[in-house]
C-alpha cells in the first residue's frame, strides 16, 4: 500500500487532467487503484444525514482495507463482518468489537468462536440448524434473525440465498427461545443497488408487525444495505430523497427499536478510481480492441461478480467508434467493455475508471500470476 499526499478533487478534477493523472502513474506505476478517504468520509456523512439515528455498520466485504476501516472507525461507524479474516483486519485497526456485527447467515463453529474471542457477540441466523450452533454459547450471544423480502428491482438479489420467510419468523423465534438464546433483532437485506426504496419500506413495515406480534421484546432492526450509487453518471444520488420513505417507515417503529444498517457499496464505491494503461491494440474485424494492464480478473472483477459497469474515460478526443476494452489475461472472458464508443487510442494511453471502490479490489484475483493492482491511499486521517 502506498500513501499519497492529500489531493483535493481527486475524482472531479485530478483524474480528468491528463498531466496530473500521468504524474500519479509516474510516481506509483500502473495499474493503480486510488482510494480517497475524504470521499469515503463524505459518503458516510451523507448517508448518516439521510438516515438520522440509524447506526451504520460498514460491510467490510465490499472493500476490506485498513485505511477504510481507520477512516470509518474515526467517524464512529460500526462494522459488518463475515469472516475471521475481516475480524483480523478490524483488530489491527483497534476497532471496538462491540461496534461490530457478524452477518454471515451460515458459519462454522470456528467462525463463531473466533468472533466471540474478538468480542463480537452479535450474529445473524436464518434457519434452525444455524440457531442450534449457538446453543452452547447461549449467554454469550445476541442473535439477529434474517428475514427475506424479495426485491424485483435490485441488481443482486440477496433474498434467494439467505433469509427465512416472514411466515417462518414466529417458529424460529420460539425455537431460539427454547434453547435459551436471545434473538435481539430482525434483519433483512433487500439486495444490492436498490433502485427504489419501496422494498426497504415494505420490509420495515413487515418487520414492525413481526416485532409487535412477539411477546419477548425485540430491540434491533437491521435494515441491511442496498443504498444505491450512480454508476451511469458517477454523480451523486440524491440519497436524502431516496431515504425519505425509509425514514417515514422507520418513524412508525415502536419506540424501543434501535435501527442499524449495513451499507457497503454506497460508502465505498464512489471513493475509489482505477488507472490502467493501454498495453496493446489490434483491429479484430472492424472493431478496435484495446488491451489494458488490468481487467476482470483484477480491479474490474466486479464487472463479472457484481454486474457493475464503471464509468470510464480517456484523454483523447476525435471520432468515436465502438471499441473493445479488454484485460491482460489470456482468458476470453476478460472483457471490460465489448463495444464502448471511444476515440482511437494508442499504446501507452491511460484509461480511468471511476466508482470503483465496491467489490473491485475485494474480488480481484492473481490469475495468470498477475499481481493485484497497487492501492494508493489519499487523505487517510491521522496521516500527513
Amino acid at each position: 500500500m502506498a500513501v499519497a499526499t492529500a489531493s483535493s478533487g481527486l475524482f472531479t478534477d485530478v483524474l480528468f487532467d491528463e498531466g496530473k493523472t500521468r504524474a500519479i502513474v509516474e510516481q506509483h506505476g500502473s495499474p493503480l487503484l486510488l482510494l480517497d478517504c475524504d470521499k469515503l468520509a463524505d459518503q458516510y456523512r451523507q448517508l448518516s444525514a439521510a438516515l438520522p439515528g440509524v447506526g451504520l455498520y460498514y460491510a467490510v466485504k465490499a472493500f476490506p482495507h485498513a485505511a477504510i476501516v481507520n477512516t470509518l472507525n474515526r467517524l464512529g461507524a460500526g462494522f459488518d463482518i463475515a469472516s475471521t479474516g475481516e475480524i483480523n483486519l478490524l483488530r489491527k485497526q483497534k476497532v471496538n468489537p462491540r461496534n461490530t456485527i457478524h452477518t454471515h447467515p451460515i458459519k462454522k463453529d470456528k467462525d463463531i468462536r473466533d468472533a466471540l474471542r474478538f468480542g463480537c457477540s452479535t450474529f445473524v441466523v436464518d434457519n434452525p440448524a444455524e440457531i442450534a450452533k449457538f446453543r452452547q454459547y447461549s449467554h454469550r450471544v445476541g442473535l439477529l434473525l434474517r428475514v427475506a423480502f424479495r426485491s424485483p428491482d435490485c441488481s443482486v438479489d440477496l433474498s434467494k440465498k439467505f433469509g427465512c420467510s416472514p411466515e417462518e419468523v414466529p417458529a424460529l423465534l420460539k425455537a431460539a427461545n427454547q434453547l435459551g438464546l436471545h434473538v435481539k433483532g430482525l434483519s433483512f437485506h433487500v439486495g444490492s443497488q436498490s433502485t427504489s426504496p419501496g422494498t426497504h419500506v415494505a420490509a420495515i413495515e413487515a418487520c414492525s408487525r413481526l416485532i409487535a406480534e412477539y411477546e419477548v421484546p425485540i430491540r434491533i432492526l437491521d435494515i441491511g444495505g442496498g443504498f444505491p450509487v450512480d454508476y451511469d453518471h458517477a454523480g451523486d444520488i440524491d440519497i436524502q430523497a431516496f431515504c425519505a420513505p425509509i425514514r417515514a417507515a422507520l418513524a412508525k417503529l415502536p419506540e424501543h427499536v434501535e435501527v442499524i444498517a449495513e451499507p457497503g457499496r454506497y460508502l465505498i464505491a464512489p471513493a475509489a478510481a482505477a488507472i490502467t494503461t493501454v498495453v496493446g491494440k489490434a483491429l479484430r474485424g472492424d472493431q478496435p480492441w484495446y488491451y489494458l494492464d488490468d481487467g476482470v480478473y483484477g480491479m474490474f472483477s466486479g464487472r463479472i461478480y457484481d454486474h457493475a459497469r464503471y464509468p470510464l474515460h480517456v484523454f483523447r478526443t476525435g471520432p468515436q467508434r465502438p471499441s473493445a476494452l479488454v484485460g491482460p489475461t489470456c482468458d476470453s472472458i476478460d472483457v471490460i467493455e465489448e463495444a464502448l464508443d471511444l476515440p482511437e487510442l494508442e499504446v501507452g494511453d491511460l484509461v480511468v475508471g471511476r466508482m470503483m471502490g465496491a467489490y473491485t479490489a475485494a474480488t480481484a484475483t492473481t490469475f495468470n500470476s498477475l499481481p493485484i493492482p497497487r492501492i494508493v491511499v489519499f487523505n487517510e486521517p491521522g496521516r500527513d
Binding site: R91, R113, F118, S121, Q136, K184
Partner: protein
Amino acid sequence: MTKTWNETLYDAWGQRHDIDKVYFELDTGHQQLMIFHNALFGRVMVLDGVVQTTEKDEFIYHEMLTHVPILAHGKAKRVLIIGGGDGGILREVCRHQSIEHVTQVEIDKAVIDMAIEYLPNHSAGAYNDPRANIVIDDGCRFVAQCQEKFDIIISDSTDPIGPGEVLFTSQFYSDCKRCLNDGGIMVTQNGVVFMQLDEVKTTAKRMANTFQDVHFYSAAVPTYVGGIMTFAWSTDNKALRHLDANTVRERFKASGIKTRYYNPDIHVASFALPQYVLEAIGKADNS
C-alpha cells in the same frame, strides 16, 4: 472523560471497569492483552476482552484451586501446574512446605515475564523457589509426552473459547490421568456456571470417561461475574471429596499456611453444588 473497559464476554450484560492507568498493552493481531489499574480491583489483566485476574480478588481463585486438592490429598509431594503464567497458583503451592516438587508448564514465557513485572504480588517470588521447575511448552503436548508422575494436577487455563481450548479436551484429561499417581487429583478452572452451564456439562462428560469420581466445587470470585465459579474435581478416590471438616482442619493446621478465603469449613462446603448444577451434570445429589 473517564476511560473505561467493558468486558465482552456476554452480549446482553457485562462488567465495566474505569481505567485509572494502563500499564501494559500487547496486540499481536491475534490476541489483545492489557493490564490496567482500577480503583476497586487494583491491577487488572484482561485478554481478548475478558478479565483474567485482578490484584484484589485473585486470592479467592488461587487459594481454592490450590489448597482444596492439596489438603484433600493429604500426602501430596509433587504438583503439576498447567498454565497459570501469572504465578498465583505457584505461589499458593509453594506455601506448602510438604510439597517437594512443582512443575509449571506455561506455553508463553512472555506471560510469566510480564506478570513478574506488572503483577509481582501474584507470584510473590515463587518463580525463584528451588522446588519449582518452569517449563515453557504447550501443556497438552507436555502431558502427552510426560514420563513423570504427580499427586496433584492443577489446570489454570483461559476460557475454552480462546487459547485454552485444548485444555478442555478428553485427550488432555486422559493424558493428565496417566501423569497422576494412584489416588491423585486433577482440578481445573471451569467458568462461571450460571452463565456457562454448558461448560460444566461438557467437562463432566469428558472427565467421566477417565476418572471414577467427577464433581465440581465452587467459590464466588467478584470479577468472574455472574455468580459462583466452578472448579472441576476429578480423581479415582471418591473419599477425598467427602473428608470431614476435622480431618481438613488438622491438615490445614499442620500446613501452617495463612489464607484469606480458604478455610476447612469452606473446603467441605464448597463441594455442595446447587440443584441446577447437579441437574446439568446428571446427578441427583452431592453424594
